[in-house]
Structure formats: C-alpha cells, structure tokens
Amino acid sequence: MKKRLIATTAVLCTTIVSLLSGCGASSEGKNGQVIVYNWGEYIDPETITMFEEETGIKVIYDEFETNEIMYPKVETGASLCDVVCPSDYMIQKMIDNDLLAELDFDKLPNATENIGAQYWENSKQFDAENKYSVPYCWGTVGILYNKTMVDEPVTSWSILWNEKYADNILMQDSVRDAFMVALKLNGCSMNSTDEKELEAAMQALIDQKPLVQAYVIDEVRDKMIGGEAALGVIYSGEAIYTQRENPDLEYVIPEEGTNIWIDSWVVPKNAPNMENAHIFIDFMCRPDIALKNFEYITYSTPNEGAKELIEDEDIRNSSIAFPDLSQYDNLETFSYLGEEGDELYNELWKKVKSN
C-alpha cells in the first residue's frame, strides 16, 4: 500500500513539475501577451495563430456566453483582460461605470480605414464620441424556422405564441433578448422601463412558456440544424451557418421590428497590456483577417475592405448577412437601462423562469 502511495505521489509530482515548466516557457511570447475575452465561437482560431506568428505576442483567449456573465468578471477585475468584445448596451454600461480605456486611434489605422462609416454612426448610440469601441460584428435578431415543419408564412413574432407549435419553439435564455421579443410583439420599445409595459411583456412570456421547448443560447444552432424544433429565436450571424448545414431553414426579421446589435472591441481600463491590445484590435480589422473571421463565424462584418474581398456573390449580396436596413423603420439598438432598470428586468425574468 505504502509503495503504491509513493509511486502515485512521484507520478503526480512529475506531472505538476512538467506542467509548470511547460507553462513557464509558453506563457509569454517574445513580445509579451494579450488577454482576449470574447464570445464563444466568435473568431477563427487560425487568425489567432497568425497573429501570434506575425507579432510574437502570445494570445491568452477566454470565452463568455452572455454579456451578463462577462460584466461582473471585468468589473471586479477577477480576470484581468486586455481586449473584450461586449455588445452595444453593455459597452454603454461599461462606459457609464468608468471601466473602459479610451482607444488611441493613431495605433488603429486598419480600423479607421476599413470599418464602414455607417457602423461608426450606429456606434454613437452607445459610444457617443466613438472613443471606446471598434465594431467587430453586427446583425439582427430574428426567427429561424424549418420550412418542412412550418407551413404558413412567418412574418411576425406572434408565431412564437401559436399553439400549433407547442414544444417546437426555442427561445433565447438571456433576459434582454427574451424581453425584446415580447416587448416588440406588444408594440413597445425594447428599451422600455415602463413598469406596465414590462409587466405585460412578462405576462406574454409566461403565457408563452408552456409552448417553449427550451430556453437556450448557443445550442439553438445545433438544435435547429438537427430538426429538434420548428422555430427558434436566433442571431442573424448563425442563420447563414445553419442554412449551410440544413437547407430547410429560413431566417426572417419579423415585421414588428427587432434588435440591431453591434459587438465591438473595447479595452478595459485596468488592462495590463494596453499596447498589445491595440495591436490585436488593429490586426482584427485588417481586411484579410476580418474576411477569415467572417467566413468562419458567418456574422456580418462592418469591415468594408473584407466585404469587397468576399468571393461568393451569393454571400456578398445575401440579405441575411448584409440586409438592406432602410426597409425597416422599427429596428432598435439596446441601450443600458441603469442599475434599477437591470434589476427590474432580472426580477421579472426570474418570475417568468420560475413560473
């Protein structure tokens, strides 16, 4: 018995030592490191390798699933990071709470050159002077449906309340997205803080709950591809990918309007590698890199240079990837609702979930 214990300890020790030395050797590239905190599956891993090779900066990459999960980590400084990629309203919240560093655009020539003017304009809704953020991806939220399972035209959010599709509906498991659907259905603004409107939206979500198969985030993609559900609320960027995998799927922006969102690169104030953060963001704005990422994640890119490089004409003119937004007059961007607004939403969402 004792012998075995010694043997086990010896094995453990060697493993730990080798692990530690392994880390020591690779934790920093010759030009230091950059810690990136991004959405799950939101980058082509190859671009990271290319970045490391070209710049000699080691990338430490971590992922989050929702803005709400990301925020406390950055706020408390529990995990220091150099580059983060939150969405519009969360960027506004981070600016409001003085968590972000102003970017030095002299160090970001690719960003100023390639990101389309309209996206800088849209960004002003949450970053009034375009000082803190560089757009990375944008898109809408809509309904993805399976043509073989839905036999009527899908034009409105109300189809998600149609009892015919009970147990065949996938909703987003994120408070703002879920309320956006209900608020838009009721003809309200998705940035509403009016208690009556929100109560009504909550009631709508509670009424809908028996019809919902599951509340999901990233799984909506695989479940829709697998034919697990007929209708799902999804980000437009996932739509192209899912259609590629399952041609029966179709994406629509409901007529009541929806969320038009932008995810942008930002740099937290307490970033340990400010310089490298700029190098990383600029690298991501290079047209060939942005193109690589677009092809991999299929989320619409604000990078005009990359768009021109897209070879497949169908994709370049795709109304999903690059919709003509002028035909919609009821698109909105999320804005930060303040601490009280957040609390109200969370409280009502909890009521929906526990019902």
């Binding site: 406390p72 919902v212 957040d342």
Partner: protein, 271 residues
C-alpha cells in the same frame, strides 16, 4: 512536535484559503446590502414566491432522486458484496468507470440521448414504439441526478456491507433466523451508517445542482441552484446570491447533523 506542525501546514493553508475565507465572504455578502450595511433581507428573500418555489422544487426532486438511488443502490451493493470481490476488482471498477468521465459531458450525453430527435427516440420510432418525451421536464432532471449520483450511494453501502462480520450472519442462521429475518435484524441495521452516508452524498449535490437542471430541463425549470447561479453570473447580485446560499447551507447542515447522529463511527465513509 515541530515536524508534525510542518506537516499540518499545507492542510491548514488549504482550509483557510479555500474553505474558511470563502465561507466568511459568503456570510459577509449574505448579511450586507449594496451600501455595505447589515441586512437580513437577502436571507428573508427565500420567502418570496419564486425563491420558495425553486427551493421546494429542488427539495422534491432531490428527495425523489435520493429515494430512487437508494432503491437501486441497495440491491446492487448487496450483489457486489456477496460476490466476495475486493474493492479493486474488475466489477467495482466497471461500476465507477463512468465517474472517470467529465460530469458535464455525461449530462450533455443524456441531452443528446433524450432529445426529440435523439438516439433513444430514433430507436423507438424504428421499432414503431411511442416516442419518449421527457426532455426538458422534471423526470429528465431526476434521471440525470440518479445517473450522476448513483455511485455515491452504492459505494458507502457496499463498504458498510463488506465490513459486516460473516460470523454474525452465520450466528443468526445458527440461531434459526431465516433469510428475511437475517436481513431485517442483522444486515440492514449494520448497514445503516452506509445508507445514511449515501443519502447525504446524493441528497446534498442533488439539492444544489444547477447544471443538470439547465441541460436536461432546458432552463425551463428553475431550481434553487439555478437561482443562486444566476444571481452571481447574470444579475450580478452577489448579496442575494450569498444570502440564498446561506439558507441552502442550513438545509445541508441539518442533513449532515442527522447523518452524523446515525453514523457515529464514520463506518459508511467512502474510503
């Protein structure tokens, strides 16, 4: 003496760093509000309809899972112990083999198995049998709990059973007890410490789980573990999350006290 102290140091460091300090932090957050003032609100919040319902549902599901585990595990442990195998034997290894795989992966696998177009339903429809629609319902969560925590019930009971002196059982038979009498009056009472320890080891993780309910319940069923997790990760309200954790801790401590009363000698311990 000095040497003994030096040997204790790592454990002391461990307990302080990873048990004592986090515990203190939970109590600090649990009893304060955003301004840092003392409050009982976070504790009393358990009484609100959503929280009470989540706690009640958690208790119910973990209780059902614990009973199911016990019903499945006891006969299994009896079979294993009567096979006269040692703890390192092939059979026992086979049984704990799934535990070597990641808990999340195993639960995710059940999701794939149980889905509407999943493996099980494909087989059922191939055999022209009615589909099994339990994914995203409480039974699926119970299934996940039983599957994941069953080994924690089997092993303590098995340990208690193999420790029973065969002479005691032979004596009972000599004195004319039949099989049923031997079981009820000798084996069962002697295995109680194992049973109690198994109940604790299944009930506590089942009560606090949030992963199983998220994956197999489609996030539609809110257990108290989910509420606490979401207060920390999404709502960013550590105060409420800690307060609810303290309430949950009380239930766990009651369970622990009960088990220590029954299991004075620690006979049911897993190792």
């Amino acid at each position: 003496m000095n040497r003994k102290k030096a040997l204790q140091a790592p454990y002391l460091f461990w307990s302080v760093m990873f048990i004592l300090i986090p515990l203190c932090m939970i109590f600090y957050y649990g009893f304060t509000d955003k301004t840092g003032a003392f409050t009982l609100e976070n504790i009393m919040a358990i009484a609100t309809a959503e929280h009470a319902k989540a706690l009640w549902l958690s208790m119910l599901l973990s209780l059902v899972s614990t009973v199911l585990c016990l019903v499945i595990a006891y006969p299994l442990a009896m079979i294993l112990s009567s096979m006269n195998v040692s703890q390192n034997s092939f059979i026992v290894v086979i049984f704990i083999l799934p535990m070597w795989m990641n808990f999340l992966l195993r639960t995710l696998a059940w999701q794939t198995l149980l889905e509407k177009t999943g493996v099980i339903n494909n087989i059922l429809s191939f055999l022209h049998l009615p589909a099994l629609n339990i994914i995203n319902t409480p039974p699926a969560i119970i299934l996940g709990m039983v599957y994941n925590f069953l080994p924690f019930m089997v092993l303590p009971i098995y340990n208690a059973l193999v420790k029973i002196d065969k002479n005691v059982i032979n004596a009972a038979k000599d004195l004319g007890a039949n099989q049923v009498q031997t079981f009820i009056r000798i084996i069962l009472p002697l295995s109680i410490p194992g049973v109690i320890s198994g109940i604790t080891m299944v009930f506590v993780p089942a009560l606090t789980t949030f992963v199983i309910s998220t994956l197999l319940g489609g996030s539609k069923i809110l257990l108290i573990g989910n509420v606490i997790e979401q207060e920390f990760t999404r709502a960013g309200n550590w105060y409420l999350g800690s307060g609810l954790s303290i309430v949950l801790m009380i239930f766990i401590i009651v369970n622990m006290v009960l088990s220590s009363v029954f299991d004075k000698d620690g006979e049911g311990a897993i190792l």
